[in-house]
Symmetry: C2
């Protein structure tokens, strides 16, 4: 049969993960999972496909347009999920009777958006969310910050800042100014502060959002308060902003900051920043953004906040909660940029080379022996020239090569080659594991 | 705003994973990953969506009909992947220049098929494949069996059988009988042996496949040879089947069995069964099927084989290989049936209860202290009555509850309650970690 070759290619905006990229990704996911679990968050999963009516209109017009939407074999109108928040809301409403509240879950899953592909933006990417629902307790807000902090440390970062705010403060002011119904527009404008500056935000507030210049100034004065967390909170309390809502926000921030001190979280890692708004109207309380101080341009790598009601579209039961999402792809890009990713293409540090074809079973046996000692080992399957096998080892990033020919088999010895130094030693099989462990530990 | 409630529901044939199911799934995936890695297989991933032409016609007519296929925003004809083999073939062809051969990869990913939903069959499920490509060496066939064996053991099974065969033996006979072009039909018929019996398979071979009765008998006599592996191989060698192909198959099986002995794999776990054919025409050499002896009805939970050419549709370069796929969902169902799954809904064994609201930061601090000692701990966020918190603890399956009120805080002590025995002891904070570790180890 003479078949024509089909061009092997991925779709625009999609990509394959080769081993070194995928290993970095798996390591990051494993770290996130371990940290979430250590706080008692349990995993869930939801389908990639949902009824379109579940997803439509929840992320705004832009997201609707970006949804991969079609009719399935049963003519159902279905769509691929574009985030993990809406599926979680649907999940919580659907399984409410099976969940014990408060419910703490993490969800690590792929989502799809037909965005215009551009550098670093893909149509398929992974989200990594954790949330606590069914409680309004500030203890959960505090814990959310602890999770973010411990996660960043566990990944290997030292130099990062978690910026916090509480939406109640701004909402208190907007109430006083009778501007509650402009809240979404105000948030959208404030979200641009760091990009376009105070004056342009003020123009937008007046011209686009349609509020008075004096009010715009008052809003910008509030979010512009700077200083140490304690100074900011004192200034707020003395600002004459007579609002119960704002007072509650200030109180919750004060508790949060005190808890960080008690937990001995380095103070430079937590910054109170009244200007962060996180565009979304959805958040109603504490807000979190996380920046790598050496790569601020990558934006926030872990963001979230408190909300009043997760699943109002799917159930009448109110489900307040708090959570955040780790920006996996952004983080990986930053780590690559910072040189924090290993370049290895193999998860095993040891290559057992194959010198004599008829000794295949012996090479395989040594692989087993190493694995039983918790040492990952690959056995080369073909008796190619040793030089080729060593080239293979260096191309893939192995640390150690084991070599044995007839002489070694007769005397029960192995040649152990440290590929990073080039040194080689002959050891009896009984000392092989210990020798390899020594090299790997060095 | 008075919105109407959208009914929270998943699509027909799709399902959510709640914590206890998802934890079992994650544990299984982690085990598979660890075993694959220990042999030097590295992870890859490919997109959920592919150009339809990549996937169409590769799995047969049935699979084509079951594909979720649609036109995307750019009017591209796209489909969701229905297995991980075709995407791997496309991947290998596309990235050939970046891969160093032999290339060993594992791929754990979700696939979609619009099958008629039935008990235990879903439209979204996970596959868990590993393959070695770029070598015809029998060492890789042997290693594939080792991987399957170690995987089953690592999951926790003792009583399982890996049935092996080599397609070359049957192919050798078919060549002798000049029936090569009927190979696919013969394989399909033989695949039904255990279900419909010898006589019905003979009828099918004659009536449907269209071969002579004498030939059908000869085929059935070959695949019916029984006994210990050594007996079967001797019978084959003495059967007068004069075929180089068959002789190579016999030789490779002999080496495989010898290597199992050398590796001290219990002999009852490896069975030579000439009747297993694995329907697919795709396999050309060693074949593997794995059965749980206590749950034979679940079918093979890990199957695979050797093939001559992985990616012939996408590249002219020949890529021989060998691999297998772990049936994750089937295995989970069998484990549940065998009572091998833990029922816990929490990944953390310890619940820090909240007795005094104003002490929230102290409860959170203790959570941190436990985590630093590698003990996963959840902190209850609300100061609800203790009885309610203990009910929460038992509903979710916590093992230990920690309790502290004013008295305890004054004396720096904690009440440690073992929830499985109901016993409670008071220990100073400095001994908390050791006490908790003792209970968890008991």
């Amino acid at each position: 049969m003479n078949r024509s070759i089909i061009k092997p290619q991925t779709l625009k905006g999609f990509r394959d993960y080769l081993p070194s990229a995928m290993m970095a990704r798996e390591r990051l996911i494993e770290t996130a999972r371990a940290v979430y679990r250590s706080f008692g968050f349990s995993p869930i999963d939801t389908p990639a496909l949902e009824y379109s009516e579940i997803l439509l209109g929840k992320g705004g017009e832009e997201t609707d347009k970006q949804m991969f939407r079609f009719h399935d074999q049963g003519n159902r109108d279905v769509s691929m999920r574009f985030d993990l928040t809406i599926p979680f809301a649907r999940f919580a409403a659907q399984h409410l009777h099976e969940l014990v509240l408060p419910f703490k879950r993490y969800h690590i899953g792929t989502v799809w958006r037909a965005e215009k592909p551009q550098k670093g933006r893909f149509r398929e990417f992974m989200q990594c969310d954790f949330d606590t629902i069914g409680t309004t307790s500030n203890a959960s807000d505090i814990e959310t910050l602890f999770v973010i902090h411990d996660l960043m440390e566990a990944i290997g970062f030292q130099d990062f800042t978690i910026r916090i705010n509480n939406r109640l403060i701004l909402n208190g002011l907007l109430e006083k100014l009778h501007l509650e119904e402009h809240s979404a527009g105000v948030l959208r404008a404030l979200d641009k502060l760091s990009k376009i500056g105070v004056e342009n935000v003020q123009s937008e507030l007046v011209e686009k959002v349609g509020i008075e210049t004096g009010q715009a100034r008052e809003i910008l004065r509030l979010v512009g308060v700077e200083g140490s967390p304690e100074e900011i909170l004192s200034q707020l309390e003395n600002s004459g902003l007579d609002s119960e809502k704002a007072a509650e926000g200030i109180q919750r921030l004060r508790e949060l900051l005190r808890a960080c001190q008690q937990a001995k979280i380095p103070s430079e890692r937590v910054k109170l920043d009244l200007s962060i708004a996180r565009g979304l109207d959805y958040y109603t309380g504490t807000i979190y953004e996380t920046f790598l101080n050496e790569r601020l341009s990558f934006g926030s790598v872990c963001s979230g906040g408190r909300y009043d009601n997760l699943a109002e579209l799917f159930t009448k039961q109110e489900l307040p909660g708090v959570g955040a999402s780790l920006g996996l792809d952004r983080l990986l890009a930053a780590m690559e940029d910072l040189g924090l990713l290993a370049e290895s293409k193999t998860p095993a540090p040891i290559l057992v080379t194959c010198f004599l074809k008829e000794r295949a079973a012996d090479y395989l046996r040594i692989g087993r022996l190493l694995r039983k000692a918790n040492l990952a080992a690959e056995v080369f399957p073909d008796s190619k020239p040793l030089g080729k096998q060593l080239k293979y080892a260096s191309q893939k990033g192995f640390r150690i090569a084991l070599i044995a020919g007839e002489n070694e088999f007769e005397s029960d010895h192995w040649q152990v080659k440290d590929l990073s130094t080039g040194t080689q030693q002959e050891v009896p099989e009984s000392e092989l594991v210990a020798t390899v462990e020594d090299i790997l530990a060095s």
